[in-house]
């Protein structure tokens, strides 16, 4: 297996505060990599740099062998690097189906079309409906996203990302605030799509990381503590001290 994503020596400061320092990690094609760490460890900041929303102060990023440091967020998406957001970031005034179709149209390269847009719109709506059926949300397709329940919004956030057919899907705490059965359904959908898709999963819930991930990276105070298989991470002394220890106590 070759590395799909390589993060090398990446750092980011906000003023005096070092949110990420010298993080190096790689993500192999096809794997699900967990990213865990206490609140404020810098997980979201790392995502923001990988997806181009923040510029690193140091280090470099490669995706599929090519440097992506100078690419804008949209250009990274075009290469298959897709993210979700910690707080669901949807189009509240638009219908659920339209939220997903917005992504599907852009993925089909018709996001900015006008003449002949009707066909693109139909195809995108079909794609959106397919995803909605899969998530069991087809009855909510016409509802304004602002009127959806929180769990439905989280699911919508994921479906939007999936409509872009990612090669690498970066999910920022997708199960936060969900009831256990909602979380299970969401994870099942992620699993169903992870053929041909690699996943990087930020989560707060250690059990989820251990159950769903091939490898786990632990971040603390902006530094990478370790990157290993779940079993090895669980046994890692520094991790136990910094993170699991706090939970166990």
């Amino acid at each position: 297996m070759t590395a799909l994503l390589q993060v090398e020596g990446v750092g980011k400061r906000f003023g005096e505060f070092a949110a990420i320092s010298d993080v190096t990690l790689d993500l192999r094609g096809g794997e699900t990599l967990g990213l865990i760490g206490p609140n404020g460890a810098g997980k979201t900041t790392l995502f923001n740099m990988i997806t181009g929303f923040l510029k690193p102060d140091a280090g470099s990023l490669r995706f599929d062998g090519a440097a992506i440091d100078r690419l804008a967020p949209a250009q990274r998406v075009a290469r298959g690097l897709v993210r979700s957001f910690q707080k669901p970031m949807l189009f509240p005034a638009l219908a659920l189906r339209e939220n997903i179709a917005m992504a599907a149209r852009q993925h089909a390269g018709r996001g900015l079309s006008w003449w002949g847009g009707a066909r693109a719109t139909r195809a995108a709506n079909d794609e959106a409906d397919r995803l909605l059926i899969e998530a069991g949300l087809q009855h909510r397709a016409e509802a304004r996203v602002a009127d959806l329940a929180y769990g439905e919004q989280r699911m919508a956030d994921l479906l939007i990302a999936l409509a872009l057919r990612p090669r690498l899907l970066l999910l920022d705490e997708p199960t936060a605030g969900l009831a256990p059965d909602e979380a299970r359904r969401l994870l099942a959908i992620i699993r169903r799509h992870d053929e041909g898709t690699s996943v990087m999963l930020i989560t707060h819930e250690v059990e989820i990381a251990f159950a769903a991930c091939d490898r786990i990276a632990v971040l603390n105070l902006g530094r990478l503590l370790c990157l290993d298989t779940p079993a090895a991470v669980q046994a890692h002394p520094a991790v136990r001290e910094a993170y699991l220890g706090a939970l166990a106590a």
């Binding site: 993210r83 970031m89 509240p92 917005m102 149209r105």
Partner: protein
């Protein structure tokens, strides 16, 4: 094609025919002016109502097209397709330039940069006397024509303006329903998510601005022929602000409300202006009252009323 999609344009055409047959010269020219400025306001609605792009320089697109058409008419004669072509080209070109300047910054800066850009265009029109006539503007334009037919009379101008307005309304509707129009709404609602979907904010907004520029330019190209005059106030930022007011009176995002708002505003200006020197005061009060009392605009108030009427 469904009946309701045809019903509105047909009703519009019928109303136009009736008005054209029944109204006098003065009213027809006044109505033509409403329809042309209304078309420019409609194009502004695409930016504000769907893109959240509050441009305080929209008159620059409309007015520069009006000047371009007027100047061309003095040299080439006022053939309708040539005028429209020049106006659309000018409106689009100025919009492109404007887009490069204003679309790089956030909402507040966009507003002010658009104002600055518009004032630069105004400075050019006001000071480049040999070409634009400076403060006096341009008079003595040849009447509009199409091949052998003269179109300079009030009735023809009204019909032309009406056709342009209807056509623009159709274009605007198709734009809003198209993927591009949807993307524009997306950039207003959630710009960060749009980037995470692979959209480049600039490309979406730039295209919308070009569409609005072309539409405003088409309206601007006919405007000088209504009164056979074009002056620097057609580019000034006060007209840009007035267009926003017209839009708000009519209802932001309602498309046809643009014409309603323009009609209400221009009618007040004309009739109150005839009745008191303090019409500016009245106009200002109208602005303020609109914003305070019905920020949703007349169009939505009207719709709410009719809907209430239908569902008891």
């Amino acid at each position: 094609m469904s009946l309701s999609r045809l019903a509105l344009p047909m009703a519009g055409l019928a109303a136009m025919a009736a008005v054209a047959a029944l109204s006098g010269d003065f009213q027809l020219r006044f109505l033509a002016e409403i329809l042309l400025i209304g078309t420019a306001v409609l194009s502004l609605d695409l930016l504000i109502g769907f893109g959240g792009l509050i441009s305080l320089g929209h008159a620059a697109l409309f007015g520069s097209a009006a000047y371009a058409a007027a100047i061309a008419a003095q040299h080439l004669g006022a053939s309708l397709p040539v005028m429209l072509g020049i106006g659309i080209a000018m409106g689009t070109a100025v919009a492109a330039l404007m887009g490069l300047v204003i679309l790089r910054a956030g909402s507040l800066f966009l507003l002010i940069l658009a104002l600055l850009f518009g004032q630069i265009v105004w400075e050019i029109c006001f000071h480049w006397r040999e070409v634009t006539g400076g403060a006096d503007g341009l008079r003595g334009l040849p009447p509009l024509s199409l091949g052998p037919w003269a179109l300079g009379d009030a009735r023809s101008l009204f019909v032309l303006a009406g056709l342009l307005a209807l056509g623009s309304l159709g274009v605007a509707r198709s734009f809003v329903a198209s993927p591009l129009g949807r993307a524009l709404i997306g950039t207003r609602e959630q710009p960060i998510r749009m980037q995470a979907l692979g959209y480049t904010l600039f490309s979406v907004r730039f295209r919308a601005l070009l569409v609005a520029g072309a539409m405003a330019g088409a309206a601007g190209s006919l405007y000088p022929f209504v009164n056979l005059y074009v002056g620097p106030q057609s580019v000034h930022w006060t007209l840009s602000a007035t267009m926003i007011i017209m839009l708000v009176i009519g209802g932001v995002g309602s498309l046809w409300g643009a014409f309603l708002g323009t009609a209400v505003y221009l009618a007040l200006q004309t009739y109150v202006g005839a009745w008191t020197d303090r019409w500016q005061l009245c106009v200002g009060l109208l602005f303020v009252l609109t914003v305070l009392v019905m920020p949703q605009g007349l169009a939505s108030g009207f719709l709410r009323l009719t809907r209430k009427g239908r569902t008891p």
